[in-house]
């Protein structure tokens, strides 16, 4: 087994990986940028090194240099950044360092989403209609023709893809050129690769993925499926396992199909085989996520398998040591992604200093986060602040548990989407498990309080708060001493 692992990531996933490493007796190396120095992963690691180059956590050269300098035997890329980078995985191997993930060849064959769909389509599975776009400036007539072949509505996606970034839905041809230009810019900014393709939208639909574990000895198991149909701007907000939209027979068929597809690519390590389920119940393969996913904990809760531990064991060449029959899926798990963003202000990111932070506790509640009181939420990175995961015997109990956990979760200093989650969890359709990818489009964020007693109490509290603040505002300090001194300088830094 490895002695020391470098975690080439930040945020809640870096904390998550450090936890398992520590339980396995493996030393950890954390990386950080100046903006990120306050994050929890830096404090928890055995060693921490600052990154200086502009690519930050995506800086392959610098990450490898640190790995060599500190003598690590493996690098865990987490998700995003250097995960799914075949060249990086290859360079790790050349340096005698194990990359915790699939082999460079497997990453390469899955990295281009269009090529992966070609392989799966040839093997006889359903995939959505798609068309690849060549690189560089595109002739409008050519673009229109490709779009016509796919049909509207369609989605413009990055071939490099992932995390819903750089994807744009186009409903009518007039919007196509603009959407392609924006998607190209975003893809270039996020992935450093502006290769795009068009894909026919399947709507209404359900997003389901099957979590796979595969070792180097030919053993492969699944940990059930997850549903991630609750999206806002192509980003998943809530995930759950099992998928409420599937019947048991469908589930069995989906698992088999996912394992077969993973075998097509000779898949190794952990991954997620992703499908769209149309209203007739057909599964359309979309891609294989060749890395750990943000929502992996949902599968961990229902399967009792530590996916990060398995990833590390597989990377070290160990056998899975369990067959499908040894994996017992039980209960219901759900995850809410808590983002530092403002639901009342068009979901703009909300960076800042956390002044209060109270995590939910109690039975079967788990929070993976890099935040704590005094921690700065940096502007530079993704707004994901915490994953809140709960488990219960049934979906109803799981929804109830999530509601109470959301109520306990308190963050002051930055705005979060906790109020949005709370309202979704109270939505009748969601509570009944009756939702698809259109849910958030139709969802109206409630802003009015209808409870008269609460309003009356609130008036009393506002009056007291105002009176107290005014009293403090009327300072005892003489006016002349205050001159030239900005009042807001007294406030906590925002």
């Amino acid at each position: 087994m490895f002695k020391k692992i470098l975690i080439a990531n930040r945020g809640e996933i870096a904390v998550r990986i450090i936890r398992t490493c520590r339980e396995m007796g493996i030393a950890t190396v954390a990386l950080y940028t100046v903006a990120d120095r306050d994050s929890l992963h830096v404090r928890l690691a055995d060693e921490a090194m600052q990154l200086h180059s502009a690519e930050r956590y995506g800086a392959a050269d610098e990450v490898l240099a640190v790995a060599r300098q500190l003598g690590v035997d493996a690098i865990h890329p987490g998700y995003g950044f250097l995960a799914e980078e075949a060249d990086f995985a290859e360079r790790c191997a050349q340096a005698g360092i194990t990359f915790v993930g699939p082999s460079p060849a497997v990453i390469r064959s899955l990295r281009n989403k269009v090529e992966a769909m070609d392989v799966v389509k040839r093997a006889g599975y359903r995939v959505p209609l798609y068309a690849e776009l060549p690189e560089g400036e595109l002739d409008e007539a050519y673009l229109a023709q490709r779009a016509e072949e796919v049909g509207y509505p369609l989605v413009v996606k990055s071939a490099r893809g992932g995390r819903g970034r750089g994807a744009r839905v186009v409903i009518t041809p007039e919007r196509l050129a603009e959407a392609v230009a924006t998607a190209r810019r975003e893809a270039e900014m996020i992935y450093g690769d502006d290769h795009l393709y068009l894909e026919r939208v399947i709507a209404p639909s359900h997003y389901v993925v099957v979590q796979i574990l595969a070792d180097a000895h030919g053993n492969m198991v699944h940990l059930g499926e997850r549903e991630g149909s609750l999206l806002r701007h192509n980003q998943k907000l809530i995930e759950e396992s099992p998928a409420p939209s599937l019947q048991d027979e469908q589930r069995q068929a989906l698992w088999r199909m996912a394992l077969d597809i993973a075998h097509l690519f000779h898949y190794q390590n952990t991954g997620a085989v992703e499908f769209l389920v149309d209203s007739a119940g057909n599964f359309h393969f979309t891609e294989v996520k060749a890395r750990i996913q943000i929502e992996h904990a949902v599968s961990e809760m229902v399967s009792d398998v530590d996916i990060v531990r398995e990833q590390i064991r597989i990377a070290a060449g160990e056998a899975l040591g369990r067959s499908q029959a040894d994996i017992h899926l039980s209960g219901w798990a759900m995850q809410c992604r808590v983002n530092a963003e403002d639901a009342w202000n068009d979901y703009l990111p909300s960076p800042g200093l956390i002044s209060r932070f109270r995590l939910p506790q109690g039975p079967d509640v788990r929070v993976d986060t890099y935040g704590y009181v005094g921690c700065e939420i940096p502007l530079r990175f993704d707004p994901l602040l915490a994953n809140l995961i709960v488990k219960a015997d049934t979906r109803d109990a799981c929804v109830q548990r999530m509601r109470r956990a959301l109520q306990e979760f308190r963050v002051v200093g930055v705005q979060t989407n906790l109020p949005l989650h709370m309202q979704i969890l109270h939505d009748e359709k969601f509570a009944a498990g009756d939702y698809d990818t259109r849910f958030m489009t139709n969802f109206r964020f409630e802003t009015k309080c209808r409870d008269e007693e609460v309003r009356q109490d609130l008036a009393a509290m506002v009056a007291v708060a105002y009176t107290l603040r005014r009293r403090i505002g009327k300072s005892q300090t003489p006016e002349r001493i205050q001159t030239g001194w900005h009042r807001s300088a007294r406030r906590l830094p925002v």
């Binding site: 703009l348 502007l379 308190r410 009356q456 609130l458 009393a460 007291v464 708060a465």
Partner: protein, 164 residues
Amino acid sequence: MNKLSVTIDDKTFEVEVSAQQGTAGEFSVYVDGEPLMVYVPDADTPEAVDWMIVDNRPYEMVFATDMRSVQLEGLRHNIQVRDRETRGVRPISGDGRIKAPIPGLIARINVEPEQKVEAGQTVLVLEAMKMENEIRAAKAGVVRQIHVKPGQTVVLHEALVEIE
């Protein structure tokens, strides 16, 4: 006795707050004549207050630093306090300045000086947390001044564009 008019969203309440009495942090308050007891922890540092008890009902809330809004039980309410003795009203921003709603980097500017804009028209694009955020005009008017350039980083609430 401090007499205030407190407006929560669209409803106005007449509120009287007595001086702190007896136990520290306890205030007796009349809302439209109805007596309520309010307990405030940290009464000495009002900026840090994030929960109170009204009679036997505990509440957790977050007041905006400018006291123009408060969040309670997953909802955000606009508030306005009018002091009936001094007749002072807390100021409301109604000028045509578009300020940065978040710190970030100016990616693009879509308007020119003296250009007419419609309400809701995208004025510029602010990049933050790897997302492009379109900043739109709150009302129709003419662009009088542009204070920023593409590539420039801006701080929270920095004035970006003035529309008249």
